[in-house]
Symmetry: C2
Subunit: 270 residues, 2 copies
Amino acid sequence: MTTQQLVEQIYKKKSFLCIGLDVDLNKIPKHLLKEEDPIFEFNKAIIDATHHLAVGYKPNTAFYEAYGVHGWKSLEKTINYINKKYPEVFTIADAKRGDIGNTSTMYAKAFFEDLSFDSVTVAPYMGKDSVEPFLAFKNKHTILLALTSNQGAFDFQTKDTEGVELYKQVLKVSKSWENSENLMYVVGATKAEYLSDIRKIIPDSFLLVPGVGAQGGSLLDVCKYGLNEQVGLLINSSRGIIYASNEHDYAEAAAKKAFELQQEMQAILK
Amino acid sequence: MTTQQLVEQIYKKKSFLCIGLDVDLNKIPKHLLKEEDPIFEFNKAIIDATHHLAVGYKPNTAFYEAYGVHGWKSLEKTINYINKKYPEVFTIADAKRGDIGNTSTMYAKAFFEDLSFDSVTVAPYMGKDSVEPFLAFKNKHTILLALTSNQGAFDFQTKDTEGVELYKQVLKVSKSWENSENLMYVVGATKAEYLSDIRKIIPDSFLLVPGVGAQGGSLLDVCKYGLNEQVGLLINSSRGIIYASNEHDYAEAAAKKAFELQQEMQAILK
């Protein structure tokens, strides 16, 4: 998917919401556990109920890998379902991968080719040659961790690194990498006050913003500092939407939560 | 597995060799491709031929994920085979994971519980609360990226961060994390000259050292600066061993290469 197609979808749906599909068998409605593939059934119902309100879905791979081969199969069925039934939707493999060149190429193949995701999250610690293999894929997007939503972000990311915070080094340096037009960045909603500085370095890039909802980030603050001319934000909510109810009405409850966020976004886009 | 058991195995086998199982279907002998699971058949033959020469095996998860559900199944069969037939061997899931707390817990479950690996490699960028969920597992080892073997290591890892290089910050800060006795560190063999400085910060930790062989690192240099009182090194070679031949004799050829390295290690241990 091109960035232009993503922007068009945002204006059409009046939403820049992304829904995180972090499915934990201990948290989904009990009646689903008797299904052959509870994770996929859960995702399918959530997607069917929210696809008109969200522009993206973001399965976090950890929640699938924890269930081994069965989990990976649920992930494959989920992405195939989205790509077939809702091909306009932007898909994110939240995998936080990154390794030496030939290995990153294998990860890129796993997510861009085998699973046909539009994008994947990547950690920057190993530098240029660990990220460029992802960037080489045309119309695919590499979402680099910059400033994450957790407390541990203050351990290294905000430390002074040759005159600026490490996450700013990551933003600056990565701009010079080959095919850097395929980069997006992760910036946590819990760090909204950092966004005006971030926008000075990367005014045009899309940001994936987790941390609204369960982690306590504010949508209004994020938009105040983070919006750019083509919106430039994908706001993710996972637990706040998908676990709105753990009864039979879970999909409707998720849609209701997604609708509330979409309505806030519609007001902001005006 | 405890560190003590690993050390005992090193002295028994007179080896601190770890073999990387990075299986690329384009590189393995052609005759294996007609097998139902070529990756597992390849691994099985390599493991059977080298288990007396190596103390560890390190499948890199990228090479399995690239083949989707089939690949994940090959990974599961490989680790189950090692754990059943050679339970004394130390196993490393080279996965380079790391995410916010509840997600890292799911990754830890995936590799320590579902797949029963002894250890997993983890990226430090997201800080303490992204690593501690791995450290919470008893007799399991979290191998934190410190200074990697690739060129991109110079993009961020060696940059001055509040007075010392970032990788040294990672070493220092991580020592204060809960259950830090379960930490090991990745230091690339191509950066052997950094090892004496590294040993000043973490004299007692085990280091996983990739980059000997195909990437050009020197075993002697690594040992000169990196050995400690309980050896403290796991030297990994992947492509240099497993692709020694791509004919029917591939397992024997791998064993020959592994034997050469084991002999060098035996001389060093004396």
